[in-house]
Each structure stands twice: as C-alpha cells, then as structure tokens.
Subunit: 211 residues, 2 copies
C-alpha cells in the first residue's frame, strides 16, 4: 500500500521540478532532485521506480515526462473539487494560498455560518451557509475538505462532512478529529508545531528530522 | 534525547487540558487524556512519566498540577520571543492565529520588504524592514522564527536567520530548507498536505496515520 510520506515526496518532487529548476532545463538526475528535496538519491529512485517515466543513466529523467508521470499519479484524471469549511482569517489565507496552484485540484465551495460572509465570493469561490453543506457536497461530489473552523466546532463539523461522503480532511482546527477508518485525516496543528520549534531552538543538539 | 513527536504530544495534552475539559474538572485519568489525544493510555503514561506531576491510580492526575508541569517542560522559564518573516496574506493570518495564545511564547517582531507594510503594527507587533533583521534579532535575542516568504526568497532568508543566531524555524514557504545540523526546522508544506489528502480521499482503504 502506498504510504503518506511517499505521496508527500512525489508531490514535493513535482513542485521542485515545476517551480525550482532553471528555465529550459530538459533533464534532471536523481541526485539533483534528491539534493533539492533533502532526501537520498536512492530514495528518489525508489519513489520514481513505479512511475511510467524512466530515466537514462547518462542523461537522467526528462523533466516534462517526469512532471506528467507525477501528475498521473497524484491528480485525479479529470480534476478533483475541494471544499473549505470556515472562512475566518486563516480560511481566507488558505483560500488565497491554494487557489490557482493546481488545475486539477481546486477549491470550488466555501462554507461559513457568519451571515456577513455567506454569499460573498472569495478568490472566485462562493461562500455558502453551512446549512447547505450536505446539498452542495453531494451535488458536486466533493470528497476532499479543508477544515478551518474553531476547535469547539471541529468534531461536529467533521461528523457532518464524513456523513456527507467526505473521505479526506485537512484539519487546521487545533483539536484532533475522530473519524472512521476509511477516512484520511491530516492534522495541521500549528500551535504544536510552533511550540516544538521553540523547544528545540533552546536545545544544544536538536534531533534529526523525523520523516 | 527527547524526540519531536514526544514534544508534540506534550503540547497537545496541555492544550486539551486547558481548552477541552469541562469547566471545573479537577482530575483526569490517563485513559481520558488518551481518548482526547487519539493515542493509547500507555503512551500517555510514558510521556508523563518524566514530568514532576504524578497521577494516583484512583483519582488520576490533578489537572492544574499537570498543566503546570507541562508548561515547565514546554516553555522557556521567563518567556521566549518569536519573529515572523513575511507578512503577506498567510503571514498576517499566522500572526492573528498565534498572537495571545501563549503568554511565554509571543511573536514580538515581524519583517517584510514591502514599504507599504514596514512600520505598520500587526496584532500589536511592529513590522520592520528586512534590512533590520540581524539588528533586531540580536538585540532581542530571538532564536525562533516563523518563515512565511515566497519560495524564491526562502533559502536566502533562512541563511540570514541562521547567521543571526536563529536555531528553530517553522517554515511555511513551499520549499525545503538547507540548514546546519544544530538548527531545527519544521516544514509546514501545505500544498503537499492537500495533495496527499486529495490522493487518499480517492483510495478505497486509506493508510493508518503515521505518527
């Protein structure tokens, strides 16, 4: 079974190839990609072995082929819609950050319960009242959601999302979610991340990063 | 050596105790904390074993003592200052999110190169020109920094921060940083996180979360 860290590396390789190579670069060696991604060349070769793009020992991988192969692995063939629940300061920043980055992964629905926000358009995306959550998710077959609501609302909202068919949750609410086994959650716990960085900034010898 | 995941759990336990218990709760059992944190009771007991707060088998841990012990482990005794570099949409949202959460971990300096932002005050925190980076960090002995600059500026800015004495970096720029071994970096790669969630939302059987 494919593991989350492996998918994370494929996502990073693609972004490095599309955003961080010198313009016009046609070929890349696994060791070059490894240096940019901060992993070993052997790791890069293992990760790319399963793709339909094969490198040559003398020239490396063709960049355009490799980007296309990574897209075939990472993206839904015809595109995948994403909902954002909670359009406060953080939600709006996330919307601005994500919107337009990936053609085949777009936030197309936002939800909030604040009447000031409902029916407004953020980055080309309409904000619906949370009461419409189930209707819109089912109508648009949305299975991927970013959760940016206050901690007190997070579990109740996650339960509704799962009941409405959501199978992937990116959780920015600062509380861990309980979900069924067939739902994938990634916790983006920013407070814990900052407390951890602050802790290790005081240590003489910080640990190696855990991958 | 203490590992990042262990510190992350201590941070989570504290937040669950302070924000998610019913008001007036005086005692908590390890299995109750474990349920809230989505870990095993044995894990909670192992994590708390090294603290100076001891639970009783019949009543559990005293909540106030446990919160104080966790603070002694996690926080700098007299407080630790944090700098935020890059005060665009994401930087401002992070500022709003973090400011006021922890008495002993406060963002006290922001930096940007946009003349529109320099000398403005965000959430009580002045934005300096990046040219003042070294001066302000050294004057205030700041060793912990949140990086929220565009990818193209991230490595150069990280090099300057490290040279100015920063030893902990929370990186929101979408590119991995190269830093010396004695600097701790936590990558908050939001694009990869969303692509991973989208990927597993399409899978029949998502993987168990990797801790």
């Amino acid at each position: 079974m494919v593991q989350p860290h492996a998918i994370g590396r494929l996502s990073l390789y693609r972004r490095l190839l599309t955003d961080h190579l010198n313009p016009g670069t046609q070929f890349v060696f696994s060791h070059e990609l490894a240096t940019m991604a901060r992993v070993s060349p052997a790791q890069v070769r293992r990760d790319l072995m399963h793709l339909d793009s094969t490198g040559s020992p003398s020239k490396g991988y063709r960049v355009d082929e490799l980007v296309a192969s990574l897209g075939n692995e990472l993206d839904h063939p015809t595109g995948q819609l994403v909902a954002l629940v909670g359009i406060g300061n953080l939600g709006r920043a996330l919307m601005t950050y994500f919107q337009g980055r990936r053609e085949r992964l777009a936030i197309t629905a936002a939800f909030d319960r604040d009447p000031e926000k409902v029916n407004r358009v953020y980055q080309g995306c309409r904000c619906h009242h949370v009461e419409e959550l189930e209707t819109v998710l089912k109508r648009d077959n949305i299975r991927t959601t970013i959760l940016a609501v206050p901690a007190a609302d997070a579990q109740r909202m996650a339960d509704r999302l799962v009941a409405a068919g959501v199978r992937g949750l990116l959780n920015y609410a600062p509380v861990p979610l309980r979900v069924p086994n067939d739902v994938y959650v990634e916790e983006q716990d920013m407070t814990t991340a900052l407390e951890r960085v602050a802790y290790f900034a005081r240590e003489r010898r910080p640990p190696r990063r855990e991958d």
